[in-house]
């Protein structure tokens, strides 16, 4: 009796634990079209969605474009264009056109976050001076937009050009700070050095600044470098600077740390914020007569590096002052250092931002050279 009951209960448990195969949830991988990149463009009251698969060896990716009043309907409509089942669980990147981002991101982020199959960790990009449809179909005409964007995620981080924030991170920043940074990309025509054919490529183009939920502007590559320094996202950066002796010196900035210190006035309001940046670099190349063992000469190089990085940081801070929006998260950094002091001004922080004096202190240090210490030239010719 007990065995019979157990045998009857087993299928129920299997059913509840989803361990069942049948028409309801079984998907044959051969019959799936795995969408990996989504592009979103608003067109009047409708939305155009461009979906691209990854590319298998020697094959072109599949690109599907459909318009509807909502993202969900547009995606569902794509099914009619395909024999295979369209599957969105592997979407890794989402591109939004510039004009669409200027109208507001909320409704698109809302769809992505509500949709069960798309992940919060999906990388978000905004196409500068272009549409997502052009970017996706343009790149897919000669290659794979999915692979390009996946490679870009790693490249921009390694080169400190910008950073690919995920849909979840952007939504979180919009909710908590009222603003967000999104990785900007630009569509360019390039000539293939081997075949000579012209092809479309997407290149990183700094950061897009989101205020509220709308795109407010872009930061160029230099200012984006500054943002990465200020947000402690500096990974590895190579800076070319004149060595002051007619040569060029290439430095790899491999460590950066930024701290914020607020000075509160008598009313408990932060009047001055000191931004203290520590940068460590190594010498990658020396094209000239510089002797790194000479303290004065090494100090000159460090000074030149400081000037370059200061300009980048000031550019990033200029955007904060210009838009009166704390993209960098200065408020959060101050809050970490003095939570009680900041709690009194948390609500009025955005309005304080334009009037607060931001002092930047940069301490650069050339820590080492690699393999070869002195320039490769005869001793007599060395300085």
């Amino acid at each position: 009796m007990k065995r019979a009951a157990a045998m009857l209960l087993c299928p129920a448990l299997l059913f509840l634990s989803s361990c069942r195969a049948g028409r309801y949830d079984f998907r044959d991988i051969e019959k799936l079209e795995l969408i990996e990149t989504l592009g979103i463009d608003a067109a009047g009251s409708a939305v155009t969605v461009t979906a691209a698969t990854g590319a298998l060896e020697g094959e072109r990716p599949t690109v599907l474009i459909n318009s509807a009043y909502t993202v969900g309907l547009a995606l569902r409509g794509m099914q009619a264009m395909q024999e295979k089942d369209i599957y969105f669980a592997h979407v890794g990147s989402c591109i939004v056109g510039e004009q669409t981002a200027r109208r507001g991101l909320t409704m698109y982020l809302d769809y992505i976050e509500r949709e069960l199959s798309v992940r919060y960790s999906t990388g978000l990009f905004i196409v500068r001076d272009g549409t997502a449809a052009d970017a996706v179909s343009g790149v897919c005409a000669g290659g794979s937009v999915t692979e390009l964007l996946e490679a870009m995620k790693e490249d921009v981080r390694m080169l400190s050009q910008s950073y690919v924030y995920s849909v979840g991170e952007v939504a979180g920043a919009m909710l908590e700070k009222g603003c967000a940074l999104v990785c900007a990309v630009e569509l360019r025509e390039e000539e293939d050095p081997v075949s000579g054919d012209r092809e479309s490529v997407l290149e990183p183009s700094g950061y897009a600044l989101i205020n509220g939920d709308r795109l407010e502007g872009f930061l160029d590559s230099e200012a984006s470098h500054g943002v990465n320094i200020l947000t402690n996202r500096l990974s590895m950066d190579t800076v070319e600077i004149p060595d002051g002796r007619g040569g060029v010196c290439a430095l790899s900035v491999y460590f950066g740390k930024t701290a914020y210190k607020a000075h509160f006035n008598g009313n408990g309001i932060p009047a001055v914020v000191d931004i203290i940046i520590k940068l460590d670099a190594g010498i990658e190349e020396l094209h000239g007569m510089t002797d790194p063992y000479d303290d004065r000469q090494l100090g000159d190089i460090a000074g030149a590096l400081e000037a370059v990085e200061r300009e980048r940081v000031e550019k990033a801070l200029a955007a904060v002052r210009a838009y009166g929006t704390d993209y960098i998260g200065i408020g959060r950094a101050i809050e970490r250092a003095s939570p009680v002091g900041f709690s009194r001004v948390r609500e009025i922080w955005p309005s304080l931002l334009r009037s607060i004096k931001l002092n930047v202190y940069i301490d650069t240090e050339i820590v080492r050279s690699y393999d070869i210490a002195l320039p490769l030239m005869p001793d007599g010719e060395r300085p």
């Binding site: 129920a12 509840l16 634990s17 989803s18 919060y120 979180g172 909710l175 970490r336």
Partner: protein
């Protein structure tokens, strides 16, 4: 009555069952009340909940002579008033079993099977739980030991692979200004953890031990640590603002998880696995309901009574709320308030009165003896 089960094993089964409401409700509610400081709430609530349960255990074991709580309520408060008290606990237990049943179905629908209906999941789960609840407590506690290992193992894997995504700025800084929110979240957490106290109705089926109160208290502290880990994983990776707005924040965090870039999209398996926590909790609550019904009706065995209780729970599951939004309303307003009234007012009152009555009875007996 005594089935040879140790009281500690019963508490372990309760702990397994607690996984279900902890994951479903706590990250969202705590993040909404306390923001970044949400993770502090379980750490504050756990010692209070542990102390409360330990005191309840001590009061229960005090001179009980092996009599179950439900039975002794009748003896202490009389047939009519005692039955009224039992009816209050019984009604809530049946409704609570139905409410978990409904939430379990809603979770599977809103995270994995969007086109399904509630009854597709609620009916089979109610049937399985009815079968478990009509069995011996020892069988369920032994199963819970296996489930305990599975769930802890799963949670450990999730924790290890989620830590990379946890950002300190989502959890810190915490200041005095967060205190009101943290206290509100702590009160909710303590209220949720007090659900373990209902297991005392099954204590009559367990072997009394000298360290029952201690083991129950330690289990509550462990539950608090688990709740803290769940909030750290969820709010630490999604941020407090998104966590407070998400329907199933823990499973969203799991959805983004990748194990060494080899295993991805494991959320369906994790969510399905959580059905065993639902199963354990519903079965325990149905057992408690059956025990209360047995005492109410003055019958000898409780096992078959689990079947009408399951039918009642299934009805409650289907009628608890017309949609998921109102079900959330039940979660944050109805359940905590009714539970607080029962566990923090009625149950201690009952236990204190019962202990006092037993003491008086014992004193009278010893007087007669002299």
């Amino acid at each position: 009555m005594n089935s040879g089960t140790q009281f500690g094993k019963l508490q372990k089964a309760v702990f397994v069952g607690m996984f279900s409401p902890l994951v479903r409700v706590l990250p969202r509610v705590c993040a909404r009340s306390a923001g970044r400081a949400a993770w502090l709430a379980p750490l504050i609530a756990a010692p209070a909940a542990a102390l409360y349960l330990a005191l309840c255990c001590l009061l229960l074991r005090c001179d009980s002579g092996g009599e179950g709580l439900a039975e002794s309520i009748k003896h202490t408060f009389g047939a009519v008033f005692g039955r009224l008290i039992l009816a209050a606990f019984f009604a809530f237990q049946v409704f609570y079993a139905g409410y978990i049943l409904r939430n379990s179905a809603e979770r599977l629908i809103s995270t994995t099977y969007p086109d399904s209906s509630v009854w597709m999941f609620a009916v089979p789960l109610a049937a399985v739980c009815a079968a478990a609840a009509s069995g011996r407590l020892a069988v369920l506690t032994r199963s819970a030991e296996v489930f305990h290992m599975i769930l802890i193992g799963t949670l450990l894997v999730i924790t290890v692979f989620s830590l990379g995504g946890v950002k300190s700025e989502n959890l810190l800084p915490v200041s005095v200004a967060d205190a009101p929110g943290v206290l509100e979240a702590s009160a909710f957490t303590a209220d949720m953890m007090s659900i373990a106290a209902y297991s005392l109705f099954l204590a009559g089926e367990t072997e009394p031990g000298r360290r029952d109160a201690l083991s129950a208290a330690l289990r509550q502290l462990f539950t608090g640590a688990l709740a803290c880990a769940l909030i750290v994983i969820t709010a630490g990776s999604l941020g407090a603002a998104v966590t407070a707005r998400a329907q199933q924040p823990f499973f969203i965090a799991v959805r983004d998880m990748s194990i060494l870039n080899v295993f991805e999209r494991i959320e369906a398996a994790v969510m399905a696995l959580w059905i065993i926590a639902d199963f354990t909790l519903i079965s325990l609550v149905l057992m408690i309901s059956a025990e209360l019904l047995r005492a109410l009706l003055g019958l000898r065995g409780r096992r078959l009574l689990a079947l009408p209780c399951s039918a009642g729970a299934l009805t409650a599951a289907l009628l608890a709320a017309p949609n998921a939004f109102e079900l959330w309303g039940v979660t944050v307003s109805v359940i905590p308030k009714v539970n607080a009234a029962l566990t923090f007012l009625l149950l201690p009152g009952v236990l204190l009165s019962r202990a006092a009555a037993l003491r008086i009875k014992k004193a009278k007996k010893s007087k007669k003896g002299y």
